[in-house]
């Protein structure tokens, strides 16, 4: 069993050096440094978090979403037809995002994540996985909500992004759809929407990750979608475990079993035991152990410790199934 992360990673840590990105952004906002100066610091921190994940032993790393203002406006600000609007709470977290507002037809303007993916891939010994916020979540958290038309416009725009990432050599591309946990069934036509997003993926493997809640009632439908791996938050979404216990799964799962929203550290043995309960129902050799959601809700040092729990637990699973 391999390990991966969901996307975000804490971008500051204790001490002046650990806060260089925060300072650089403040200086850029005051026009004391150039955009290029800021980018240098962003890439430096991005390299650092990629190296940190790899050093702990994570098998499939991300860029930590280091340059994202938030998971919505990072995309909304780079697509045509959208404005970035009022502050809103991001699900039930203590973070906020800027609400996208459609002001015209939504179109892909150009790559939004390729540069950061390339920077991560260049710095990492482990393969890097770019992450995109999914079309349903982008629409559901926008000012107008998830109309079918808007979801489709986002899907078309993301299709171009997936194609650009595949062309840049991404071996694995992940679509994050946390807003699906707010529903009890898949949005109408989501299979088609997912197919559209993935149309240009080439040989890249793909993951759909849901988090901030459970998806038990729609688990079967999620497993039918054209992704190689389904990522599940099994902490805040522990209710999904019940559905999983009676489902035979053919594709890989990303077991989000390490709580990315609480500092309390898990016992790796307990995490491994939770995974092993599914060894006869899930192909563990194609599955991952992951945090329950992005790690940026934790302090940096604790995020690293959570990764250590993951890696240790995955080794225990490997030993038990060898």
């Amino acid at each position: 069993m391999q390990t991966t992360v969901v996307g975000s990673y804490p971008r500051v840590s204790n001490g002046p050096e650990g806060q260089r990105l925060r300072k650089a952004i403040a200086m850029w906002e005051r026009q004391e440094i150039s955009r290029e100066d800021l980018r240098r610091v962003q890439v430096d921190v991005l390299h650092e978090v990629v190296a940190e994940q790899a050093a702990v032993g994570v098998d499939l790393v991300t860029d930590g979403n280091i340059t994202w203002y938030d998971p919505l406006s990072h995309f909304a600000a780079k697509m045509d037809g959208l404005q970035v609007g009022a502050l809103e709470r991001y699900f039930d977290t203590n973070t906020y995002y800027r609400r996208p507002q459609r002001v015209g037809p939504v179109h892909w303007r150009g790559p939004m994540t390729v540069e950061d993916y390339s920077a991560a891939a260049a710095a990492s010994a482990a393969p890097a996985k770019p992450v995109l916020t999914g079309p349903y979540t982008l629409a559901a958290l926008s000012a107008e909500g998830a109309s079918e038309e808007l979801v489709m416009e986002f899907a078309e725009a993301l299709m171009h992004e997936v194609k650009a990432l595949a062309a840049a050599g991404a071996p694995h591309i992940q679509i994050n759809e946390p807003a699906l946990v707010l529903r009890t069934d898949l949005p109408r036509g989501y299979n088609h929407i997912a197919g559209l997003v993935l149309r240009g993926k080439g040989n890249a493997k793909t993951t759909l990750f849901t988090y901030f809640g459970g998806v038990g009632p729609m688990l079967d439908d999620l497993l039918m979608l054209p992704f190689d791996v389904l990522g599940l938050d099994l902490v805040q979404g522990a209710s999904t475990l019940k559905a999983l216990a009676v489902t035979d799964v053919e594709k890989g799962l990303a077991f989000g079993l390490v709580d990315a929203r609480n500092t309390k550290l898990e016992d790796p043995k307990a995490v491994a035991k939770a995974v092993l309960a599914f060894k006869d129902r899930v192909p563990l050799d194609r599955s991952y152990l992951a945090p329950s959601n992005g790690l940026e809700f934790l302090p940096r040092a604790r995020a690293r410790e959570k990764l250590e729990v993951l890696v240790t637990a995955a080794k225990l699973v490997g030993e038990a199934t060898a």
Partner: protein, 326 residues
């Protein structure tokens, strides 16, 4: 003081550079607690002076002693442990505390600086507290494992602090609950119950401040909160929340705090746009129950931006009073 369209602010002011530097140096052990306290008082005095100069009606002390609204209580309430930095949005971070054991209240936390600030003015000085739901929601709970238990324990601690402020003479006490709509269906009743614990038997006028979340989901339910005033951030979304009050009338017994300045935008509002928002609100809430305030704490803006924005707020209020002969 006319009761029509009273002005106040939500709590925090931007820290002057000298104080921020001293706080950093204090963390590094290079400035003593006594030296830091002196500079904190100096900055508090400056905040009071600004409010005098602007002619606000009810003052705040500016929260110069607080890193942020939750971390500060994490540093001072027994049972809590100061936390490390996590991001809240954009480039903003706070020290997210940890609830490590039973939360208690042993002694006043905020009273000393409140008393100092009040001594600098005849205007009423608000006591400033963070609400129990928000403190728990924005902390890591390693102890209770039950939100209900944690929130009610925190409410008991904050109640003691409110009692101490009232005994010291605070006429107004604001209990901020910006996280109150985090889980509107699941937890709102708990947040109301917790506010009841905080205010019970305390002789003061309680205000609460709520911002940036799913306000429509807790309106009109929020009118059950046992407080005199509910303050909401209106300007951030160009007063669109006022439509809620058009659909469901505001409780005539409660005051509405109208946020008229976007504290997350460098742009300084025009007097006209603020007046428009006030006049819109006046069609829904009588002037003696409508307070004019920024959307949220002002620490996100530079001291110069704060002055400019607050000047606009006061000018708009004055013009509306004149226009409508209030």
């Amino acid at each position: 003081m006319s009761n029509a369209l009273r002005t106040t602010t939500v709590g925090s002011f931007a820290k002057p550079d000298y104080l921020q530097r001293a706080r950093n140096r204090h963390s590094a052990g290079k400035v003593t607690a006594k030296e830091l306290d002196g500079l904190t008082r100096q900055a508090t005095k400056e905040v009071v002076e600004v409010q005098k100069e602007l002619g606000l009606d009810v003052f705040v002390h500016g929260e110069m002693e607080r890193g942020d609204m939750v971390g500060y209580f994490g540093e001072n309430l027994p049972g809590m442990r100061p936390g490390e930095l996590v991001r809240s949005y954009g480039n903003r971070y706070y020290h997210k505390p940890v609830i490590a054991s039973e939360v208690r209240w042993d002694a006043p936390v905020t009273v000393d600086l409140w008393r100092y600030a009040q001594s600098l003015t005849d205007k009423p000085m608000k006591g400033m507290l963070t609400g129990p739901y928000t403190i728990v929601e924005w902390s890591f709970d390693e102890h209770y494992g039950s939100r209900r238990e944690a929130v009610l324990a925190m409410a008991r601690a904050i109640h003691h602090e409110a009692e101490a402020l009232a005994k010291a003479g605070a006429k107004y006490i604001q209990v901020d609950e910006p996280a109150i709509h985090t889980r509107p269906g699941e937890d709102f009743d708990l947040a109301v119950e917790a506010m009841g614990v905080v205010v019970k038997g305390v002789s003061a006028e309680f205000h609460t401040h709520i911002c940036y979340g799913d306000v429509p989901k807790i309106y009109p339910g929020m009118l059950r909160l046992p407080v005199t005033q509910i303050h909401l951030a209106f300007k951030n979304a160009n007063f669109e929340l006022l439509h809620l009050l058009e659909a469901d009338p505001w409780d005539s017994k409660k005051e509405l705090g109208l946020g008229v300045l976007d504290v997350h935008d460098h742009h300084v509002e025009s007097v006209e746009e603020v007046k428009e928002g006030i006049k819109h609100a006046l069609r829904l809430v009588p002037a003696d129950r409508l307070w004019i305030e920024p959307d949220c704490g002002l620490k996100t803006r530079t001291p110069e931006e704060v002055r400019k924005k607050l000047r606009v707020m006061v000018a708009a209020r004055d013009e509306v009073r004149r226009d409508l002969a209030l």
